[in-house]
């Protein structure tokens, strides 16, 4: 144990420091190795198409989501945005059902310091591990779609995960199940025969803030440009 005594010179100290750092680094890499190995091409690519022409604004999806996932009051995993444009008698009502886009390049996942936000490699769905989340709010700010919030009951980040407990049992997400006009269509994009793939092949598709290159997996059909991405000059004029 001479090296740990008072006679340790700087070279030995630095060597020991280097070895310890290398050991710690290797240990941390091993801890994550499992995740790295699993991050292969997903077998499925769960996605949702929302035909805004079919949405009647009943908010059934909002209520079904709250009920299914025990979402507390004041916060939402899924909701419907609504705008009214024009002046009487030329008034138009536009609706945009919203939820987490479960982006392929998710900024929330990239900014999570603990790995609490993760993607299931087999289907590409983005989740939050409540046991790992420290509640640093970083992901809430990182999400360019305002799809995340801190759950007041658990104190952890929360968001839509396509009702993962349902879809892994072969069911549809609660919002899709509850949609009166069948505006929400859910399925596997890697399956060319799925309803979602067929729908996407038939209609031109829009997405939210696609210029950010987050590759959102919630697609819209027939959505008004004004409801997808607002012109901010409205605020500065007031």
């Amino acid at each position: 144990m001479k090296k740990l005594g008072k006679d340790m010179d700087r070279r030995e100290f630095l060597r020991g420091l280097g070895t310890t750092a290398a050991a710690l680094g290797a240990g941390a890499v091993l801890i994550q190795a499992g995740d790295l190995v699993q991050a292969a091409t997903p077998l499925k690519k769960y996605s949702m198409v929302i035909d805004t022409n079919r949405c009647i604004g009943c908010h059934g999806c909002t209520i079904a989501c709250k009920s299914e996932n025990n979402v507390p009051e004041g916060v939402f995993r899924s909701w419907v945005k609504q705008i009214i444009k024009g002046k009487y008698p030329h008034v138009k009502n536009h609706l945009l059902p919203r939820l987490c886009n479960n982006c392929e390049d998710a900024p929330c996942l990239n900014d999570c310091p603990t790995g609490a936000t993760y993607r299931t490699p087999e289907d590409g769905v983005v989740h939050v591990n409540r046991d790992k989340c420290v509640g640093c709010h970083t992901c809430v700010l990182a999400c360019p779609y305002n799809s995340r919030f801190i759950n007041p009951l658990t104190g952890t980040a929360d968001k839509c995960d396509f009702c993962y407990h349902r879809i892994t049992k072969g069911l549809e997400p609660a919002c899709v199940d509850a949609c009166t006009g069948r505006a929400r269509i859910f399925g596997d994009l890697n399956d060319p025969q799925s309803e979602v793939s067929l729908y996407l092949s038939k209609y031109p598709v829009q997405g939210l803030r696609t210029y950010l290159d987050t590759k959102p997996k919630v697609h819209y059909v027939y959505a008004d440009e004004a409801i997808l991405d607002l012109d901010y000059s409205f605020l500065s004029r007031r």
């Binding site: 444009k85 024009g86 900014d111 420290v134 360019p144 305002n146 004004a226």
Partner: protein
């Protein structure tokens, strides 16, 4: 595109990074700024009498950096799990980088402080001055012979090594706080490399302001001999010159940043409007520009004002206040822009967090003043050269 929108229904999200996080980023930039300014000034002067100010610029930032994690922990909803950042790191997350950079920064500052105080601690142990027992433990009972200057000469290599490392980690810390904001992809106000340069300019001015304020207070609290006092005042007056140029640099960078925002689409224009006429206009024009930029600049513009203790104290304090609001305007202002609806996001009052931040600041200030009375900042006048 949507000028004719009459009504909108939307879910509001509010502000999640409040004043506590702004305080965290401000204090980090001020601490490392004070240290960098001190080290560069020391390299310029190469004067033994600058040493007490170098200690101020190293030990006080160390205290700040030691207390900073508490601000972050209080802001978290599950701080008890924060240790997971150290082994479940995510390389793309700036916070994960900060979890490593900030402790390394603290370690380098601590060791640099240790070597700065080491010769005086040895002399204090030999002479049985107050705190000798504590210093003996810190020095692991290895007391060297010779005067403080001779001991310092012998340890020069180690002192320089840790000083150089503090420079590296200080710049990494500034890049970290800049990137902590710029990482937010959808926030046009902060999603820019300009953040790193803004934080560097803020660090230079707040760090210099800090050195002037705490340097002046130290001179007032700790009695000095007349020649030492004259020299110390000269250094502090010169810090006023540094502050003048740091404020000009800050102004230039902010002007460039605001011009850049105006060329970043409607979102960028709105971000600039938040400062210039929107919800943060009062904090921007009065606290950041008038009090934080113009007032200190006027107070350090002329030699006669720089030599005036009260004027330079006010200049230092005003600069720090202005920089705090600059950080808050960036951090909070960036969250006021709604992502897709048409109302400004609102910031909910945070009385507990704000009170905690203020308490931390008061504790820090008291620790600074107490350290002036306790720690051997000045080289002892009567030294025994023999052990």
């Amino acid at each position: 595109m949507n000028g004719s929108i009459q009504w909108i229904s939307w879910v509001k999200h509010g502000v999640v990074f409040g004043y506590l996080i702004a305080m965290y980023m401000f204090l980090i930039s001020m601490a490392v700024g004070a240290h960098l300014v001190t080290l560069f000034a020391k390299a310029y002067y190469r004067d033994e009498d600058f040493l007490p100010l170098e200690k101020v610029g190293t030990f006080l930032p160390l205290l700040i950096l030691l207390l900073m994690p508490f601000l972050l922990l209080v802001d978290m909803t599950h701080p008890e799990r924060s240790y997971t950042m150290y082994y479940h790191w995510n390389w793309t997350a700036t916070v994960a980088w900060g979890a490593y950079i900030m402790p390394l920064c603290v370690i380098s500052y601590a060791l640099h402080s240790f070597y700065l105080f080491r010769p005086e601690m040895m002399v204090a142990v030999r002479e049985g001055r107050p705190g000798a027992g504590f210093y003996r433990v810190l020095l692991r009972d290895r007391i060297e012979a010779g005067s403080a200057a001779e001991i310092r000469q012998r340890q020069q290599k180690a002192e320089r090594l840790w000083a150089n490392l503090t420079i590296v980690f200080s710049f990494l810390a500034l890049i970290y706080v800049g990137m902590r904001l710029s990482a937010f992809k959808g926030r046009v106000m902060v999603h820019s490399l300009a953040m790193v340069f803004i934080f560097m300019s803020l660090a230079a001015s707040s760090g210099t302001g800090f050195m002037i304020l705490l340097g002046r207070l130290k001179t007032a609290i700790v009695p000095l001999t007349q020649p030492a006092l004259i020299k110390r005042n000269r250094f502090l007056v010169d810090f006023g010159v540094i502050l003048k140029y740091a404020l000009v640099a800050q102004l230039v960078i902010w002007v460039l940043y605001l011009i850049q925002l105006n060329f970043t689409g409607t979102g960028g224009k709105l971000a600039a409007y938040i400062f210039l006429g929107g919800p943060r206009a009062m904090q921007f024009w009065i606290l950041q520009v008038a009090i934080g930029l113009i007032l200190p600049f006027a107070l350090v513009l002329f030699q006669s004002l720089r030599e005036n203790s009260l004027a330079s104290l006010v200049a230092g304090a005003a600069t720090m206040l202005g920089v705090f609001f600059a950080v808050a305007n960036l951090s909070i202002g960036s969250q006021l822009i709604p992502l897709t609806h048409l109302e400004w996001e609102k910031m909910a009052p945070e009385p507990f967090r704000t009170a905690f931040g203020i308490i931390v600041m008061v504790i820090l200030f008291l620790l600074f003043l107490a350290s002036y009375k306790i720690l051997p900042y000045e080289t002892p006048v009567s030294q025994k050269s023999e052990a």
